[in-house]
Amino acid sequence: MISIKNLHASINGKEILKGINLEVKAGEIHAIMGPNGSGKSTLSSVLAGKEDYDVTEGEVIFNSKNLLEMSAENRAREGLFLAFQYPIEIPGVSNINFLKTAINEIRAYNGKEAIEAKDFLALIKEKQKLVELDSKLTGRSVNEGFSGGEKKRNEIFQMAILEPKLAILDETDSGLDIDALRIVASGVNKLRTKNNAFIVITHYQRLLEHIVPDFVHILYNGQIVKSGTKELALELEAKGYDEIKHQFEKAEG
């Protein structure tokens, strides 16, 4: 699905990612955990194509294509989806118009005709149920006036509509109460198939009780310093990040 090799990226001359290696196959869920400032959000932004970052070294192959050469919109059209940590409010652009434009641009890119109005409405209805999103919200402007939980659910709702091959969930659990967390996680679990994959970026182990990962990676200081199975997350939860920091600071020193 995606193969990240020796990825280095910097912002304003400061190197944040210092050689990331990661291989994700179809059907897998990978969790990336790490303390604040380790580069978790930078990794998701770089993969999604945010232009603020400079990729200085390395390559990313997504479904046999060079991801780093693609524009952000083409990455999305190829099936990459980023659930934002802080979804943007866009006053004046209705959720419906936004989703319809997105679907149709993706379809056009893949040589398909625009979606029929009735099929679109049916799709909206079906996916709304999945994340228990109030139908009133879809009529409003994108994320405008949404609560934190509603914004996160709207991200999962968009993901459900666009059916990406690879979804990156950037701290989707942050700011969620336990009910919202359960809804978001169950949405993800229902969308999981053997043909798609997820990268779940999180600070806490909590989300991983609901979305059970196949692999857990620990990101520290711009590198993946440890990989394992779901037990690694539990270990991390018990010991905290301090031990990791301690261990690798010493190694560096």
Partner: protein, 424 residues
């Protein structure tokens, strides 16, 4: 100094008075005052505080050196694109109300006349546009065409909107002084759109409209300016709002090399509401200057303003909003907002709120923002597969629609949406 100031004014007067007809509806004293004003104060240049960014003297010197006052006859086919299917269409052609180009629909409660037919019969005509106020009002008082008088009689709620088309067609550099008096009597209601077009050569349109909204009446008005690159205009609205009355205006400026709007609202009746909304989209070397005045003279009134600009290339936008709260105007609630998007590094916006408050128990606020297109929003849309161009269009349309959505005449709103979509 005085002689220096009046050179431009003298030249204009000389070139246009040759072919000008006597203005029938302006009283002699106002006419004398108008000429005196022009002689002593002249056409305002950038030293005049209200024309700081809009040097009209320089515009006349550069662009209207040879005013010839020659016009083409306006034909039905010229007017047709500006007519609205669901409205009563009235035409003011080259400054004169033209009955034969207008719709022949008779609606109960509406009176339509030529302004000159009202000479001496209605002292209200001219009462809101005093020569002493401004050079362009003076020019209108001295040289106005035979414009339109529209009255909605007491208690009549007019369902059908009225569309007044002010259309000019000049053969070469000429000045036109279109004029209107809109009179909404007590308890009457109407929606009026005013569309401005130029189908000829270079023209200067000096438009003046007096709008009297009497007790508990409601006037919803739209000013749609799409006069093209050969057109220069000053558009003055002198509005008086009575007790419990509502005045709403939405002004959309799509084109015009120079467009100066003076929108002055005299809030003269208690418990009234006045709302001004504006949208201007500029490009090339256009200058669009919106000057508004909310003059709160009495207590318990509400006013709001929302002006939005999308400024591209080397064009310049101006918003100057003055809120004047007089000593007696307690419990005034006035709000003003100016939001702008600059699409190029060479584009300029000058925005200035001007609050003068002499009452102590009021709520007045203003806000202004200017920026580029929101990069975070752009990235969010792109991250969902929406291409750069579509994403920009979506964001600009969202910005503009806050104003365009105020327009309740559907065919007019759709016309604007289509126009805007092609502009971005």
């Amino acid at each position: 100094m005085i002689a220096e100031r009046s050179i431009t004014a003298q030249k204009i007067i000389e070139s246009i008075s040759v072919k000008a007809n006597k203005v029938g509806f302006v009283i002699e004293a106002e006419l004398t005052e108008a000429l005196q004003y022009l002689e002593t104060k002249g056409i305002p240049n950038n030293k005049h505080e209200d024309y700081k960014y809009c040097n009209m003297d320089a515009v006349f010197k550069k662009e209207f050196k040879n005013i010839v006052q020659e016009y083409n006859e306006i034909k039905n086919s010229d007017v047709k694109p500006y007519k609205l299917e669901e409205a009563i269409n009235l035409v003011v052609a080259n400054g004169n109300y033209n009955e034969s180009l207008s719709d022949k629909i008779i609606v109960k409660g509406i009176t339509i006349k030529c302004l000159n037919d009202l000479s001496g019969k209605d002292s209200r005509i001219g009462s809101l546009a005093k020569s002493s106020a401004d050079a362009f009002i003076s020019l209108s008082n001295a040289f106005s065409g035979n414009g339109i008088y529209l009255q909605v009689q007491k208690g009549n709620v007019i369902q059908m909107p009225i569309n007044i088309i002010y259309i000019n067609s000049t053969k070469a550099e000429s000045m036109i002084n279109p004029r209107s008096f809109i009179h909404i009597e007590a308890n009457a209601e109407v929606t009026i759109s005013e569309r401005f077009a130029n189908v000829g050569k270079k023209s200067f349109s000096n438009f003046v409209s007096e709008k009297l909204v009497e007790e508990n009446a409601k006037l919803t008005s739209y000013s749609i300016q799409e006069e093209g690159t050969e057109s220069f205009s000053v558009n003055t609205n002198q509005v008086k709002v009575g007790r419990y009355a509502t005045y709403d205006n939405t002004t959309v400026t799509l084109s015009g090399q120079l467009v100066r709007n003076n929108h002055n609202v005299l809030i003269a009746g208690e418990n009234s509401q006045s709302h001004l909304n504006g949208l201007f989209l500029t490009s090339g070397t256009q200058l669009v200057d919106n000057h508004t005045l909310m003059d709160h003279q009495v207590p318990n009134c509400e006013s709001s303003e929302l002006y939005k600009g999308v400024i591209n290339e080397k064009s310049i936008g101006v918003f100057n909003g003055k809120i004047y709260v007089r000593k007696d105007a307690q419990k005034t609630n006035a709000y003003q907002s100016s939001k702008n998007i600059l699409l190029s590094d060479d584009a300029t916006i000058n925005t200035k709120p001007q609050l003068e408050i002499y009452a102590d128990d009021v709520k007045c606020s203003h806000g202004t923002s200017t920026g580029k297109i929101d990069e975070n929003a752009l990235f969010y849309l792109k991250a969902r597969g929406i291409g750069e161009e579509s994403a920009r269009k979506l964001l600009l349309a969202a910005f503009a629609n806050e104003v365009v959505d105020k327009i309740q005449i559907e065919s007019l709103r759709m016309h604007l949406e289509t126009k805007l979509n092609n502009l971005y």
